[in-house]
């Protein structure tokens, strides 16, 4: 006698226990501390904070540990936590020109006020596996600069701005929408697009940006400026009646300067793309700037070339890795019912096709 499978509840509990054991790995190896992840896997932490839309290195490190290094799973943990947090208010816009930069480079000007600062970058490391690291080697302390950096580090695009060579970005006081509080409706404005890209999947945004470079809505980008560093976050406190600094966050900002031929309404000038990402993430911020620029075709009176990176709906609806991974992986959930209905349909259609064939043969 057939007995239907039961005991899903027990199976789930067992699965979780097994998962925890696997997470720990070989118990004879020291357990990894959250602080170690936070300090030594900082790029992973940065990515989780950026795409989790929550600046908290400690929690991001915990999420990475809990997710066994699966960064999308870690981002998911952080996002789910983030939704439950109360909203106290909105900070003032951060002032990136007051950033204390640890890195600042421009591909457009050899030198500019504030100077070029190479900073801690992989760029010129030879990608040779460093076997000393495998041997737990301690590193020597890096040499400190003889004098501190200039405090004023003006944006490089401002120099072009002063000459009127680059498209103006007018200031507005309109409060940007919040993707996590209102449904995304299209067409979205630029603020919402940037928000979506800032928390979008690094790989997706990178792929989109790369496609523009290879000719799918090419926009000839130069990195006008890329800067990484801490900025202070300031917020009005209604009870106090004035604003206070509530902390510092590290961000990466990229402004691209893009070629532009001019249009019916605009004289020839440079245009801009913008990327801003929580933490250190050059790849993501440059990618974001390129995709932002590609999405601005309408506003700049350019042609829609039908390129994926120009398609706002395509980019915004598919860049979120938590949405994507959930929907992708849901196909492993039971689909007995829909599959059964397909089974019946295909059998019926085959029966009909078969009998049709037989009638034909009989007739011949």
């Amino acid at each position: 006698m057939y007995v239907a499978v039961k005991g899903g509840e027990k199976a789930i509990d067992n699965a979780h226990a097994w998962l925890a054991e696997d997470r720990r790995g070989d118990p004879s190896i020291d357990v990894l501390s959250v602080a170690q992840i936070r300090e030594q896997l900082s790029f992973a932490v940065n990515r989780v904070m950026a795409e989790g839309s929550l600046y908290d290195p400690q929690l991001a490190a915990l999420a990475i540990k809990q997710a066994r290094g699966d960064l999308i799973e870690a981002i998911f943990l952080l996002r789910a936590y983030r939704t439950t947090l109360p909203r106290f208010g909105t900070s003032h816009p951060i002032e990136t020109e007051k950033m204390s930069c640890i890195r600042r480079i421009s591909a457009t000007f050899k030198d500019a006020p504030g100077g070029q600062v190479l900073g801690p970058t992989f760029d010129y490391t030879h990608r040779l596996l460093d076997f000393k690291l495998a041997a737990d080697g301690d590193i020597e302390e890096a040499e400190l600069a003889s004098k501190p950096l200039d405090e004023a580090v003006p944006h490089i695009t401002n120099f072009l701005n002063a000459e009127g060579l680059i498209q103006q970005e007018p200031n507005t006081d309109t409060e940007p929408g919040d993707l996590t509080r209102e449904p995304l409706e299209l067409p979205a404005n630029r603020a919402l697009r940037l928000q979506s890209l800032a928390r979008g999947d690094e790989g997706f945004v990178l792929g989109m940006a790369y496609s523009t470079q290879r000719g799918y809505a090419r926009n000839h980008a130069f990195v006008g400026e890329l800067r990484i560093g801490d900025v202070t976050v300031e917020m009005d406190i209604p009870e106090l009646g004035f604003s206070i600094e509530i902390g510092e966050v590290e961000v990466t900002e990229c402004e691209t300067v893009n070629q532009f031929q001019g249009s019916k309404t605009e004289p020839p000038q440079f245009t801009r793309g913008y990327g801003l990402v929580l933490g250190q993430s050059e790849r993501k911020s440059i990618s974001m700037a390129l995709v932002d620029r590609a999405l601005r075709w309408k506003e700049l009176g350019e042609d829609n070339l039908g390129a994926p990176a120009q398609d706002e709906e395509f980019v915004l609806y598919h860049c979120d890795n938590i949405q994507a991974t959930g929907f992708l992986e849901h196909i492993k959930l039971p689909h007995y019912v829909d599959f059964q209905s397909e089974l019946e349909l295909i059998r019926k259609l085959r029966r009909e096709a078969q009998s049709h064939l037989q009638t034909q043969e009989a007739a011949e």
């Binding site: 959930l333 829909d338 397909e342």
Partner: protein, 280 residues
């Protein structure tokens, strides 16, 4: 779990969702955009249904959760546990005892009552999506009632296969106005949608809620000469003998032996219990 609000979502969010539900009930079949929250479960696994349930549940409710008609499939268990933990509500496997039923892919076999709510988990709420990928365009098509394309799809099915080749998520027209996706229920369940209970549909990832008030007219699209057919496997249940219930096919040996059993586990076990009682 005192650190979370009743049924996990904060009251602000629930109010927002309830407004969308009410709007959905006022315009049956219309997809209301709502600010779907990020839930502690993956998109595509019922986040829309869970949010609708969370906004609808009261402490006095009795909850039933089914997936593929069954109470003991893993995802149904997981969602039921979630509400036990965050809302502390009573749960049941008995359809008749439940005041709120969250479902994925099935409508229970037992006729639902006016004092019950059925919440569907919806993956893709847009019935026109696979004919027209752009959301901007499909919203326009709904607004202007441009549904010719829907029948073109059915026409193409018949010309190619001799029959309408849609077996689940079979599109319906609501009160002669909106064309609606009934979620991936088998078409066998479509006629049940004209029911006494309130039906709410939640699509979390796609940020849409839609609804059917009790006794709403729900017509499955078809042609006069190729009428809609609520089909099922041509068998009786091998466990309870029911001839009018939707069946799962189960492979029982290496020789391709198979039996057919009710997909609605509560329906099937109640019938088996009843037979045993009668025999005793």
């Amino acid at each position: 779990m005192s650190e979370y609000n009743f049924a996990y979502l904060d009251e602000q969010t629930k109010r927002m969702i309830r407004r969308s539900i009410l709007k959905g009930l006022a315009i049956p079949g219309y997809q209301v955009p709502f600010a779907s929250r990020e839930m502690p479960m993956p998109y595509g696994w019922g986040t829309g249904g869970v949010q609708v349930s969370a906004a609808t549940l009261t402490p006095d409710d009795t909850l039933k959760v089914i997936d593929q008609g069954a109470d003991d499939t893993t995802n149904a268990i997981s969602i039921r546990k979630f509400f036990q933990k965050t809302a502390g509500v009573n749960v049941t496997e008995k359809t008749a005892e439940a005041s709120l039923i969250q479902t994925r892919h099935r409508i229970p076999e037992v006729t639902l009552r006016e004092d019950q709510i059925l919440v569907y988990q919806v993956p893709i709420p847009e019935p026109l999506r696979f004919l027209e990928p752009s959301e901007v365009e499909t919203r326009k098509m709904h607004a202007l009632e441009e549904y010719g394309l829907m029948h073109v799809k059915l026409y193409e099915d018949i010309s190619k296969h001799g029959a309408i080749a849609t077996s689940y998520a079979y599109p319906v027209r609501v009160e002669g106005r909106y064309v609606m996706d009934p979620s991936p229920i088998p078409k066998f369940d479509n006629p049940k949608m004209e029911m006494a209970a309130v039906q709410l549909f939640g699509a979390g990832r796609e940020q849409r809620i839609y609804a059917l008030p009790p006794y709403t007219e729900v017509i499955s699209l078809d042609f006069e000469d190729y009428p809609f057919e609520a089909s099922k496997a041509d068998h009786a249940c091998d466990l309870c003998g029911a001839e009018n219930s939707y069946l799962d096919e189960v492979i029982i040996d290496d020789q391709g032996g198979r039996i057919f059993v009710c997909s609605d586990t509560d329906f099937c076990t109640s019938r088996q219990d009843q037979t045993k009682e009668e025999a005793a």
